[in-house]
Every structure is written in structure tokens, then in C-alpha cells.
């Protein structure tokens, strides 16, 4: 069993790759917050339909999330060996 070794300074492409991984970790957090956003909408104006606004908002958000996930799936490399070691617990040790 090798002891996990960490590289502190990476070349440009490995650094970029690590940031992409951070993006992949952040995306669901932002998405979750945005999904809860309709809970804060004002409800006092009965003349406006919240349902059709909700449909437009939620499906718009969905499309944006799919596009972002698509872009990430294109740029993320799955092999671990790009920088010796991915940080074992979530946030990279950089």
C-alpha cells in the first residue's frame, strides 16, 4: 500500500483539471440552492400565475444544468494519474 503523496504545485493542465473537478463538485450545490429559490418568491400577488412562472423557471434551470453537466462531462478526465493523487476526501489538498 503506498502512502498517499501529494503534489503541491502542478503544471497548467493538471491545475486546470483539478479546477474542473472542483466545478463538478460545486455544480450540484449551486443547483440545489437554485431549486429552492422558488420558495422565496413573493406570494401576495394573486393576479400573477406562479405555476406558469414556475414552469418557465424550473425548466429553464434544468436546461442550463444539463448544458453545464454536458460541458463538464466533456472536459473532465476520468483517469486518476494526472497529478499523482486526487485528494482522498473531496476538496483537493491544494
Amino acid at each position: 500500500m503506498k502512502l498517499p503523496s501529494r503534489t503541491e504545485f502542478l503544471d497548467r493542465s493538471s491545475y486546470r483539471q483539478r479546477r474542473f473537478r472542483d466545478a463538478a463538485r460545486w455544480l450540484p450545490i449551486f443547483a440545489g440552492v437554485l431549486m429552492l429559490l422558488p420558495l422565496m418568491w413573493p406570494r401576495e400577488t394573486p393576479d400573477q400565475s406562479q405555476t406558469s412562472n414556475g414552469i418557465v423557471y424550473l425548466f429553464g434551470l434544468w436546461v442550463i444544468l444539463v448544458v453545464l453537466a454536458f460541458v463538464l462531462s466533456r472536459v473532465l478526465r476520468l483517469s486518476e494519474s494526472l497529478d499523482g493523487n486526487d485528494a482522498p476526501n473531496g476538496w483537493g489538498g491544494e
Binding site: 500500500m1 498517499p4 473537478r21 463538478a24 463538485r25 455544480l27 450540484p28 450545490i29 443547483a31 440545489g32 431549486m35 429552492l36 422558488p38 420558495l39 406570494r43 394573486p46 400565475s49 406562479q50 405555476t51 406558469s52 414556475g54 414552469i55 424550473l58 425548466f59 434544468w62 436546461v63 444544468l65 444539463v66 448544458v67 453545464l68 453537466a69 454536458f70 463538464l72 462531462s73 473532465l76 476520468l78 486518476e80 493523487n85 486526487d86 482522498p88 476526501n89 473531496g90
Partner: protein
């Protein structure tokens, strides 16, 4: 109007088509052509079994009742999939390295291959999934009944039940046929995966077709649809925050915890690249599935009579508009949703039942020689077939008993909360090494009990299982145990209430017990491998040198894996050990590998138990672990000691190198000094000898004699000064100097020094600030003045500026008095700065002045004797020296 019989014919043709698809896929897989089944597209489509008949029919009903809230059921999985880097990627990696066969296997394997946990998760999954299977049967029969009603053929309740029974039987046949054809070491089922991928396409197309028809065919475009929504009863959408959050959480968690989802997401996954594609493709699928739900619901509410069941709008709206073809497509979509879910759910449950309940019981019943003598392979396959039939029968019975009256969505949610009870143990097991089997067991029991009491049993209705009295007053009159108001907190939404308390108490028990108890060694090993799965690609050893014989192991493996596969594993191993034949040495590595292969067929706990029988239980013990740990610790300590030593050696070498450089430089300086001092001594001596010769030999005039004698006197003075300096330095260095302590104001000492140095103040400007110099000094004043004189005359001699200037700055700092002498000349090059206070040193290029390189050395000795210091100040724009007087000898004048 299309006759009811046509619907039956179309359905049967569709079923035959699915059988053919599955059969063809199995054929191709058997020929080794599996790459197309393993493609990302098929993987993504197979995930769509998340969308069951609940989605297909129920979502529209849900939207008709509660508006946009239905969408949360799809937002949760969307979050999980776009966040695949966190959880799903890890699960898939663990699933592959540990050869997991089901979610029960994940929990059991993580917590030390515990058989008990496997049974618990299996029971939980059966209880949670059976209503769901019943729900699928119900939806199929309900939609059949709709067609029957529209074709004026009256159905009796018995006919409905018969239809449900035939559907269940058909599903059982399909699942048995394609789910248990072989005992695959990877537990992957190409036929089933392809069939559900086809069904995924059918249900998506059907729902989209109905949606497009409703929006553009009935409502008249997007704008008109939105107006219709605004005008409907659902226009006011005010989601309850607790339900909204709770539903997103429960659907996201259920997405990874549902046995059928775990099956397609983790077990059937063959590479992580598919996962990367599914991370965006599956959310797209979910979005398309829910895109037309609200329009269909609103149009349905608008068109259909009050009494119409909104759960069936997807079928009834096209029928009422006379679109029979579309209605049949919609029916096939619903049928696909129901059947694909039932097939995979049944298969995954059957795997769990056979691996965690039947086979272990069978093994226990036949110990000890059972493993070798019995035909395990047949037992496993038979147990799976029986399990599939029993589970479907259970679903059918549930359907008959419950009567199929409740709204579809509520059964779905009850089931979701039930399976989500595995979530804390799963997340804890994957991210927290401290989680152990006691904690996981406690969490599961607590969560399961709370779920049963607050959600599952009440879902049958008041007075069905729990009486009205208990609902109002609690069991045995204990008020705080009321099923919908635990701890007396009443008034919350029943769903939120059940979800919150079951998950909260579950997680609390899990964490609390995990912290208080100890895991066994195998758990620790498994925990490390699960949590750090990306660090350890190969499995750690869990077996020591064992008593098992290769032949026994081979016989047992053949019974599980089949002759050809077992032989090939043994042959490969033997070859890798450099042997021929089929009997490799039984190394711990080999046993570990073999166990993983077996666990791919019968689950980790069973495989472990079976190998344990043959190896006579020589599993890793605590002592072994401690021995390994000690060894590691010793090696690490030794290595850190070596490191420390090497660092020490490095610094010593560096110090030696510096000393050597200094010595070399000094030696060179000394040689230079010797030649210098010879020169210094010879010049006056030559003059003295020459003039004394003249005086002795020749008759010299009076005036000239006087002049010559003057020269001799001056030269001998110079010699004396040189010798005085040398003697002075000798005395100072030997420490025998006599100090003559006196007291004066610093300004006076400096005045005297400037005068005594004989410096022409017209030539060298001296800048002083009298205000700062009123410091009383208590020291050897003459010696201090000697230092000052030396520094001032040095400045006069060496300052190479056209307008030479010397600044004398007096400062108080931390009780000390600091006197800086800074000129505006060239300064001293940095390589010489460390040398100037050494005796005999002088700057090579500045040999012009008469000194012998002793002045600064004497200054340093004097300051040392006075308890102060003299240092060179670099970076002051010229040569700069700092004289520091110690605090004790300084008294500031008030």
C-alpha cells in the same frame, strides 16, 4: 373505435418483441459482442427505470392535485446525477472493486461482510418494494380497464384481478428467463438491460406524443397552454417549503437506495465513462419526461368530467378525443414503465434474498462439508427463481389486499421513505471510516421501526391496521407516540413528519452507536477500502496463510462459477505464479481474489462464509493487524530517524564548508598581511637606516642634520604605533585588558574623538545631531573614543566621494544606545563584509592608507570588552558601522 381485443393483440406483440430483443442481446453477449450493450446510451436509458408507472400515470395525477410539486421527484435524481463526482462515481468504483451484487451487499460488505446487516437491508427492501410492485400491477390493470370501458365491454372486478395475475405471471417468466439464465460473475444481465432500454424509449416517446398532442392539438400552442394553466385551479402555486425540500431529498436519496436503481446504476455499470455521459443525459431524460405533465393535467382537468381519475389522464384524454392510436401508444408507454420497473426490482430483490437469506441458511444447515459436496450453483439459481416468483406473488397479494383504491403517488412516497432508511448507513459507509456495523444496524432498526409506525402502517388508512383511538391517543394511551405526532409535535404534514423523524432518529442512532462501539478488524479494512477507494485500486489482504487446499477451493468454485470459468481463474493464477496446470499455491492474495470472484455471484457475506469454511476461519485477527501496524510503525520511525540524521549531517557539512571558506580566506589575508607588514616595517626601517648612515658617515650641515633626525624620529614613531597596535590587540584578545570606567556625556566623547582623529572637517563634512547625543555613558571613555577615532579616520581615509560626508547618528533602542557612522562612499563589497573585522584584513584595492588592517579588529575587541558590539550595516549608501553600547552602562539625562 379500436376494439379491446386489438389492444390485447398489440400488447402481446409488444411483449413478444421485448422477449426477442432480450433474447438477441443475450445471444450476442454469449458470442462476446457486448460493447454495444455497454454503451453510454444504453446505460442512460436503463437508468430510466426510475420513471415507473408512478411517473407515467401518477405524475399527471399528482400535478392535477398539487400543481408543480410533482417535479421535485425528478429534481432530486437530477441533483444526484449532476453531482456524480461526489457520490455515484464512488459507488460505481466501489461496486466494481468489491464486486457488489446489490445494495444489501454494499451494506453487508462495507460493515465487515456482516450477514445480519445483509438480511436487514433485504427485509427492508422487500417491505418497501412490494407495495411499489403492487402499484405497477394496479396501474396496468387500471389502464386496461379504461380501454375495456371505452369499448363497451363490461369488466367485472374478477377480470381485473385476472388481468393483474397474468401480467405478474408474464413478468415472472421474463425475469426468470433473462435474469437467472446464468450465474454471471459480474451479475450483469444484457438481455434485461437492453429490453428496459427499449422500454425507456417507448415510454418517453409515448409521453412526449401525448404531451405534444395536448399542447398543440388541443390547447393550441405553448402560449395558449400557459394561459390555460393560468386560468386553471392550479395557477396558484405556493409550495410548502418543508415538503419541497423533503421531497427533493427523499427522491435524490431514493435514487441511489432503491434496490432496482442500485442494480442499474452500480451493478450493471461497466465503465465510468458511461456515468460521465449519464450525468447530463439522464437529467435531460427526466426533464423531457416531466415537461408535459402539467399541460396534460390542466387540459385533462379542463376536458374530463369531475369524476375522472386524474392518474389516467395520459390514456383517457386521447381516448376522449378519439385518438385511439395515440391512446394505444400511451398504454404501451405505461405498460413499459410498469414492466421494466417490476422486472429489475424483482431481479434485484431476488438476488438479495438468495444471497443474503436463502444461500446462507442453506450453508448453515449443511455444515461443515457442505461447500464441497453440495451443488451450490443449482441452489443459488433455484433460490433466485423461487424468490422472483415469491416476490411477484407478494406484489399481487398486496394489490388484491389493498384493493387498489389509493392515489398512486402516496404509495410511491411511502415506499421511497422506506428504502431511504438505508441512506445514512450508505453515506456513512462510503465517506466515514468510523462508521461500524453496530451503528449501521441500530440506525436501520430505528429508521425502519419509525417508518413502519409513522408512515407505512398509517398508509393503509385509519382503522385498517392502526385504530382511530391509537391515532388520536397513542398506543396504550402514550400520547407522545401518536403515529402522526411523535413527541407531541402535531400539525406537521404527515409525509414531512415521517421523513424527518425516521431519517433524523436513524442518523442519530447510526452516529451515536458508531462512536460508542468498536468495529472488528475486517470492518476496519473494508471501511478503509470503501472510503479511500480511489487510493487503493486493489483489495487489501483479508486472509492469512491458510489451511485450504487448492483442490478443495477449485471444487467449491466450480460449483458456484461453473467449471469452465473456475478452471480458467485457477489456470490464470497458476500461470501468474509460474506454475502449469490448475493448482496454484494458496496464497492470501489468491484467496482474496477468489473471494471477490465468488462474491460477484453470491454476495460478499456468503462468499466470505464459504471460503471461511474451507480455510478453517483463518481470517485476519486483531493480533495480525497489530503486528502489521507495528511493523509499519517501526519502518516509519526508522525512516524518520534516518531523515533527521541526514538533515543533521547536511547542516554540519554546511557549517564545515563555511568554516573552511573562512579559514582559506583568512590564510590568504594572513599571507597578504605578512608581506604587507614586512613592507610596512621595511619602509620606515629603510629610511631610518639610510638617514642614520648619512648622519654617521658624513659631515652634515646643521639644518640638514636636524631635518634627517626629524625624519628618523617620525619613522620610528610610525614603527612604534604599529607595534603598539599589535600589542594592544594582543592584550585585548587575551582578555587581560584593564578598563578605566568613567562617566561622561556621549556628545563630549564624540567631540574629543573628532578632534583627536585629526580629520580636516573642511575636507570631510561631519553631520551630527546634538539633540540626540545628550546621553550619559558609563564606560571606559578612552577606549570608546579610540573606537570612534578609528571609525572617523577610516571614513576620512576610504570615503571615495568627491564631496565626502560622514553622518553620525545616535539612537536609543530597547535601552541600548546605538551610534551609526555612515559615509557616502562606495561602501564595502558584500563578499568582504564578513572579513573586515578580522585582524590583518584589509581591502585589497584600498591599500593606500598607512594602516596595517588592525583598526577594526581592535575596535571589535574593545567593544566586546565594553559589553557592546560593532557591526557593519549594509545598504546605507556607503560604508556604515553600528556601535552598540549595552543598556547597563547608559543613563539617559533627564
Amino acid at each position: 373505435m379500436i376494439s379491446f381485443n386489438l389492444l390485447i393483440v398489440v400488447s402481446l406483440m409488444y411483449v413478444v418483441f421485448l422477449f426477442l430483443v432480450a433474447f438477441a442481446a443475450e445471444r450476442r453477449a454469449a458470442q462476446g459482442k457486448t460493447s454495444w450493450v455497454r454503451s453510454s446510451v444504453i446505460y442512460t436509458l436503463s437508468l430510466s427505470i426510475y420513471c415507473t408507472a408512478w411517473t407515467f400515470y401518477g405524475a399527471v395525477g399528482y400535478a392535477a392535485r398539487s400543481g408543480l410539486e410533482f417535479v421535485t421527484i425528478y429534481l432530486g435524481p437530477t441533483l444526484v446525477m449532476i453531482g456524480w463526482w461526489w457520490l455515484v462515481r464512488k459507488l460505481v468504483r466501489i461496486g466494481r472493486t468489491q464486486r457488489l451484487t446489490s445494495i444489501a451487499d454494499l451494506i453487508s460488505s462495507r460493515y465487515g461482510k456482516s450477514p445480519v446487516l445483509g438480511v436487514m437491508v433485504t427485509v427492508l427492501a422487500i417491505v418497501g418494494t412490494t407495495p411499489y410492485i403492487a402499484l405497477q400491477l394496479q396501474s396496468v390493470t387500471q389502464s386496461i380497464a379504461v380501454f375495456a370501458a371505452s369499448s363497451d365491454e363490461m369488466w367485472l372486478p374478477g377480470d381485473l384481478n385476472r388481468a393483474a395475475m397474468w401480467v405478474a405471471v408474464g413478468l415472472a417468466v421474463f425475469t426468470v428467463l433473462f435474469g437467472t439464465r446464468n450465474l454471471d460473475a459480474h451479475e450483469r444481465h444484457h438481455g434485461i438491460v437492453l429490453a428496459i432500454a427499449v422500454e425507456a424509449v417507448v415510454k418517453l416517446c409515448a409521453l412526449l406524443a401525448v404531451g405534444i398532442f395536448v399542447v398543440w392539438g388541443i390547447a393550441g400552442g405553448v402560449g395558449a397552454t400557459l394561459e390555460l394553466i393560468d386560468a386553471s385551479a392550479q395557477s396558484q402555486w405556493s409550495p410548502s417549503p418543508s415538503r419541497w425540500i423533503g421531497l427533493i431529498f427523499v427522491s435524490g436519496a431514493a435514487f441511489v437506495c432503491l434496490p432496482r436503481m442500485f442494480q442499474v446504476l452500480v451493478v450493471e455499470n461497466s465503465d465510468e465513462q458511461s456515468l460521465s455521459t449519464a450525468s447530463w443525459a439522464f437529467p435531460t431524460y427526466l426533464m423531457l419526461m416531466s415537461l408535459f405533465v402539467v399541460p396534460i393535467a390542466v387540459v385533462g382537468l379542463d376536458l374530463m368530467p369531475e369524476s375522472a381519475n386524474p392518474d389516467l389522464f395520459v390514456v383517457t384524454v386521447p381516448i376522449s378525443e378519439g385518438r385511439q392510436g395515440l391512446a394505444i401508444l400511451a398504454f404501451l408507454g405505461g405498460f413499459s414503465s410498469a414492466t421494466s420497473m417490476v422486472i429489475v426490482a424483482t431481479l434485484s430483490l431476488a438476488t438479495m434474498v438468495s444471497n443474503h437469506i436463502i444461500v446462507p441458511s442453506w450453508l448453515n444447515a449443511r455444515t461443515p462439508g457442505a461447500v464441497v459436496s453440495g451443488d451450490v450453483r443449482q441452489v443459488v439459481i433455484m433460490s433466485r427463481r423461487v424468490s422472483i416468483s415469491v416476490i411477484l406473488a407478494l406484489g399481487y397479494v398486496y394489490f388484491r389486499v389493498s384493493g387498489g383504491g389509493t392515489a398512486l403517488a402516496s404509495i410511491g412516497l411511502v415506499s421511497f421513505i422506506g428504502v431511504v432508511q438505508v441512506f445514512p448507513a450508505m453515506i456513512g459507509g462510503v465517506f466515514w471510516r468510523g462508521a461500524n456495523r453496530w451503528g449501521a444496524g441500530a440506525g436501520l432498526i430505528v429508521g425502519f421501526s419509525v417508518w413502519l409506525w409513522t408512515n407505512f402502517l398509517p398508509s393503509f388508512g385509519i382503522d385498517a391496521v392502526i385504530s382511530q383511538a391509537v391515532f388520536l391517543g397513542g398506543p396504550f394511551g402514550i400520547g407522545w407516540l401518536r403515529p402522526e405526532a411523535l413527541f407531541g409535535i402535531s400539525g406537521t404534514d404527515p409525509f414531512v413528519h415521517a421523513l424527518f423523524w425516521s431519517i433524523f432518529l436513524n442518523t442519530s442512532a447510526f452516529i451515536f452507536v458508531s462512536i460508542l462501539t468498536f468495529p472488528n478488524p475486517l470492518e476496519r479494512l473494508q471501511g478503509a477500502q470503501f472510503v479511500n477507494v480511489f487510493d487503493y485500486s486493489s483489495g487489501a489482504r483479508t486472509w492469512l496463510q491458510s489451511a485450504a487446499q487448492a483442490e478443495d477451493l477449485l471444487v467449491m468454485s466450480q460449483r458456484i462459477l461453473g467449471g469452465a470459468e473456475a478452471l480458467s481463474i485457477f489456470a490464470t493464477e497458476a500461470r501468474s505464479q509460474g506454475k502449469t496446470g490448475f493448482q496454484p499455491d494458496v496464497t492470501p492474495d489468491f484467496i482474496g481474489r477468489l473471494e471477490r470472484e465468488l462474491s460477484g455471484s453470491v454476495g460478499a457475506a456468503t462468499a466470505h462464509a464459504m471460503i471461511g469454511q474451507l480455510t478453517e476461519g483463518t481470517i485476519v485477527s486483531v493480533d495480525d493487524l497489530i503486528a502489521v501496524a507495528d511493523e509499519t510503525a517501526q519502518i516509519m520511525e526508522y525512516s524518520s530517524r534516518l531523515e533527521a540524521k541526514s538533515a543533521e549531517a547536511n547542516s554540519t557539512a554546511r557549517a564545515l564548508r563555511e568554516a573552511n571558506e573562512k579559514l582559506t580566506a583568512l590564510s590568504i589575508q594572513k599571507d597578504a598581511f605578512l608581506s604587507q607588514i614586512s613592507h610596512e616595517l621595511r619602509t620606515p626601517m629603510t629610511s631610518i637606516r639610510a638617514f642614520s648612515d648619512i648622519l654617521r658617515d658624513e659631515d652634515v650641515e646643521n639644518v640638514a642634520r636636524k631635518r634627517f633626525a626629524g625624519i628618523i624620529h617620525e619613522q620610528s614613531n610610525r614603527l612604534t604605533r604599529l607595534l603598539d597596535d599589535l600589542l594592544d590587540l594582543g592584550v585585548l584578545e587575551s582578555g587581560q585588558v584593564q578598563l578605566n570606567i568613567g562617566q561622561d556625556i556621549l556628545a563630549d566623547v564624540l567631540d574629543r574623538a573628532v578632534i583627536a582623529s585629526g580629520v580636516n572637517t573642511g575636507k570631510l563634512a561631519i553631520a551630527r545631531r546634538a539633540g540626540n547625543e545628550t546621553v550619559n555613558v558609563h564606560t571606559d571613555l578612552d577606549r570608546l573614543a579610540q573606537v570612534f577615532i578609528n571609525l572617523i579616520s577610516n571614513a576620512a581615509k576610504y570615503c571615495a566621494n568627491d564631496v565626502p560626508k560622514l553622518r553620525i547618528i545616535v539612537r536609543q533602542f530597547a535601552g541600548q544606545t546605538i551610534i551609526d557612522f555612515c559615509d557616502n562612499g562606495a561602501g564595502i563589497p558584500s563578499e568582504s563584509q564578513s572579513m573586515i573585522f578580522e585582524k590583518f584584513s584589509r581591502l585589497e584595492d584600498e591599500g593606500k592608507a598607512g594602516g596595517a588592517g588592525l583598526g577594526l579588529a581592535i575596535c571589535r575587541q574593545i567593544m566586546g570588552a565594553l559589553g557592546g558590539d560593532i557591526t557593519y550595516l549594509p545598504g546605507q549608501g556607503g560604508a556604515a558601522f553600528r556601535v552598540t553600547l549595552p543598556a547597563a552602562q547608559v543613563l539617559v539625562l533627564q
